[in-house]
């Protein structure tokens, strides 16, 4: 089974992995993904998109229907979990309720036949990193959510595994603790350096923790890239709508060109299209497209400069002040069925609910999509 490999294929490698559950449910379709050593790849996607299934296949808790899984250059596709040297942090922590924290963390070492003295030392070390030294003699039932989370982490890092898997490890914590643990996990990951696959629902976690982010939809990998790449250059409507909060506005528009004048018509407003975008757009001239506008790329008209901004006129349906900024929900035209538009404006912007207002659109930051396939046009 051991196969010496080049450094480039170390880490976690999935090649054309396919998973079909009994009953014909296809959870993962032809997934190829590499997590380099020292890298943390975040797996995001809607509920049921197959994130957990991917982790479980890497761990060996679920068989693969087709394809290959390699960890640290070794093919592990048919190996049982205990031969994979993988550590996993479960969403509900899955601590051993009848053992003390010390026994929980040291369990893997005990199973591996590590001498008692060394177990003791390494457990102390792991507990030290996570700041749970005083908890070592307690049972999991006597711990808070955050403390349990740390114990689960401790159980994973004490082993020096070849790969790290985490399935929504922070989803059971409150917002404040989540921020804290986010930083902590990133810190621990840098220190340990094992390739890590991290599953989350949370945008912020994905964007802040991942070296790269992989987006799954219905078992298919939609796009993988750095957080910035996904934000700047989403390959399709799905990724565009998934990354960024509030989500990108997607408006049906019509693309027209008359000579040197290119523009998209949205709800009666003309938005000029700058020359760099025109190359990719020319097949769509005279056709419908989807125009993507990020809420943070919209400005109030006072802030808009003529050369850089187009203007959209819309009715203010609702406003929400977040303190630091103002979310404005607009509707194009007065028509109720018209597409909604969310804008993230400066908190001092004065807008009145129900009024007709003008919103500036940053022309440098327009996204275009093919309305039939959803693919990005660029």
């Amino acid at each position: 089974m051991d196969r010496p490999d080049t450094a480039s294929t170390c880490g976690i490698v999935l090649e054309h992995v396919h998973k079909e559950f009994p009953g014909g449910i296809v959870a993962v379709r032809d997934l190829s993904l590499t997590v380099e050593p020292g890298e943390l790849v975040v797996l995001v996607g809607p509920s049921g998109s197959g994130k957990t299934t991917v982790l479980r296949m890497v761990a060996g808790l679920e068989t693969v229907t087709a394809g290959q899984v390699r960890i640290a250059g070794r093919v592990v596709t048919g190996l049982s979990p205990r031969h994979r040297n993988v550590a996993m942090v479960f969403q509900n922590y899955a601590l051993y309720a009848h053992m003390t924290v010390r026994a929980n963390i040291g369990f893997a070492l005990r199973m591996a036949g590590t001498p008692k003295r060394e177990i003791h030392m390494r457990v102390n070390q792991a507990a030290n990193i996570l700041g749970i030294t005083e908890l070592l003699d307690r049972k999991p039932g006597q711990l808070s959510g955050g403390q349990r989370q740390r114990v689960a982490m401790g159980r994973a890092i004490v082993r020096e595994p070849a790969a790290f898997l985490m399935d929504e490890p922070l989803s059971n914590l409150d917002a404040k603790l989540r921020v804290e643990m986010r930083a902590e996990i990133t810190h621990v990951h840098r220190r340990i350096g094992a390739p890590t696959l991290y599953v989350t629902h949370d945008q912020t976690e994905a964007m802040t923790m991942g070296n790269r982010v992989a987006i799954l939809r219905q078992g298919r990998l939609e796009q993988i890239g750095t957080p910035l790449e996904l934000y700047e250059r989403p390959v399709n409507v799905f990724v565009a709508g998934f990354i960024g909060s509030p989500a990108m506005n997607l408006l049906p528009a019509r693309l027209d060109s008359s000579g040197d004048d290119w523009y998209a018509t949205v709800g009666g407003c003309r938005i000029p299209i700058l020359p760099p975008a025109r190359v990719a757009l020319w097949p769509f001239a005279g056709h419908d497209i989807l125009l993507g506008l990020r809420p943070e790329d919209l400005v109030s008209t006072e802030d808009a400069r003529d050369s850089e901004h187009g203007i959209i006129q819309a009715t203010v349906a609702r406003t929400e002040s977040l303190g630091s900024e103002l979310l404005v929900y607009l509707s194009l035209n007065s028509d109720v069925t018209s597409p909604p538009l969310t804008a993230r404006l400066d908190r001092r912007t004065a807008v009145q609910q129900g009024t007709y207002t003008r919103i500036g659109v940053n022309l440098q930051r327009l996204y275009f999509f093919d309305p039939t396939s959803g693919a990005a046009i660029r």
Partner: protein, 286 residues
Amino acid sequence: MIRFPAAQLLRIVAIAAILLWSLAPIGLGVITSLSTQTDVQAVPARWLPHHATLDAYRSLLGGSGDFRAGGTVSESGAFTHALWNSASIMMLSTLAILCVAISAGYAFARLRFPGRGALFWAIVATTVVPVFTVVIALFGFLADAHLIDRKLGLVLVFVSTTTPLAMWLVHNHVKQLPTEPEEAALLDGCTRWQAFWHVALPQMRSGIAALSAIIVLLVWGEFLIPLLLTSTNASKPVTVFIPEYIGKYTTNYPLLAAAGVLAMLPPTVVALVLNRHIRGMLSGSS
């Protein structure tokens, strides 16, 4: 609000009735066991004995019988031997049933293998077969194996009749336990068996305690099977032994009652000790 006192009253009456129904015979038994034969047979009937005495217990446990009753029952130490028979049969059966039921129930709940569902329901289905319908065939089997009037024979029969039910209970219990700790154990380097032993089994502790109590009570109270499959003091458990105190012409009621009280003690103790777990299992919190 007006109906509240009435409902309350009804509740109290119902509970009292249930208590009376289940406790009165026991109380009567205890009183009788402390009486003398004269007290018991007095006309008009006396509720309480004139001279409370432990004679009946003494003669049962001491085995220096000065009691008059028929046949083999009167052998010195016969009752304590019957108690021992019951206890050893109960312990052996419980242990064997637990071992088989826990491992089988766990396997059916957690492992995937072909024919799992069919096999499982086939085994569980045997619980609906009343024992008396197969008892003649059973007698034949045991006779061929020279296990009639042997404790081992009884143990084997109890194991085969009770295990399916126990296995079913274990299966349902395991089904509601989270799978993740066991999976974590597999990742921590355990084999399937080690994950069961180190992680699943400790999680099942209270379930197993409750199950043990149920099995003990079932096995201890068995009457029909030992009645048919035993013939001498060598293997008779108390359930079969006690009725033999009822003589054709005379019956030593205090002795009979004392034997009944003593026979009740072991299951009572088990039920009390494991009570907490049994309640936990019934309310699903274990």
